[in-house]
């Protein structure tokens, strides 16, 4: 009887430890946020985003950091760096821009766009240098 009870307790602890290890491994190896399949938390125009940073850089940085945001703006430039596309959104007379570093899978879709077109881009805002910087960006409908 005692042996049976011991086996049950041992089994329970082994199971708990196994589950713990699986959870810890999953947590340790958790993937980066999937921007493409995630809903944006904030929706705004490129110029509004720039204006917010110019008014309160630290506060705006805290507000948007690590959140997915969707910006609407006019394409000022399309370039590439190390095989990944970069779309710059900027009003013609503005000083600053929103520089969107696109995900590798977006290159083909970007070919259909031209300078001057309005587009929606979803991504993660990392802050402001001379421009607002967004990474892991994807085209949004």
């Amino acid at each position: 009887m005692r042996i049976k009870k011991f086996k049950v307790v041992l089994g329970f602890f082994s199971f708990t430890i196994l589950i713990g290890l699986i959870v810890a491994t999953f947590y340790y190896n958790k993937p980066a946020v999937d921007v493409k399949d995630s809903e944006a938390m904030y929706f705004l125009t490129a110029q509004d985003l720039i204006d917010e940073f110019l008014e309160d850089e630290m506060g705006t940085s805290r507000k948007y950091s690590e959140n997915i945001i969707q910006v609407k703006g006019k394409i000022y430039n399309i370039s590439s760096n190390k095989g990944n596309s970069i779309i710059t959104l900027k009003d013609p007379n503005a000083e600053s821009s929103v520089i969107c570093h696109m995900l590798p899978g977006e290159n083909k879709r970007i070919l259909q766009f031209k300078k001057g077109q309005s587009i929606y881009i979803k991504g993660i805002c990392t802050g402001y240098l001379l421009d607002v910087i967004m990474v892991r960006c994807t085209l949004d409908d």
Partner: protein
Amino acid sequence: MIRNMRGIYFLVFGVLFMSGLRAQEKFLTKEGYVSFFSHSIVEDIKAENNQVLSVIDTITGKIAIQLLMRSFIFKKALMQEHFNEHYVESYKYPKATFSGKIMNFDQLDNRNIETEIVGTLTVHGVEKEISTKVDVAIKEDEITLTGNFKVDVADFNIKIPALVANNIAKTIKVTFELHHKPYK
């Protein structure tokens, strides 16, 4: 902190706009590359940043570099999270900056040469004077700086919890590659 940030803006804008606006005097990149690498017995950690801002004044050899800590991309999301939230506290210190001078810049004329770069590196709100060797490649329409240097994590008041102390090296290797184009 705010005073430091204003100082850096002043420097960047200063390098860009003061002493006239002759385009060929200012070279700039907004897509510079900086990575850091930590080797320990437990694991290797690498993070890369491809959104580095760097401006060179070719008359004086002055250089100003800024990068966002949150732009560093890690292989593992958890590492990136811990790096930003617990180690470098990006919500308090969102940028790392370097302001300094490329030595003997006026003597480097359209060629590849190794020289020295000296200045102040600011990370996690802590300033430290550094000097390192840099390979400079000068062409008519591009100035490229490449090199690497080592920094001690403790010098920048970055506290690593004892639990993961063996996972992170005490000395980190920083690598940079900056392709500057004429500022227009």
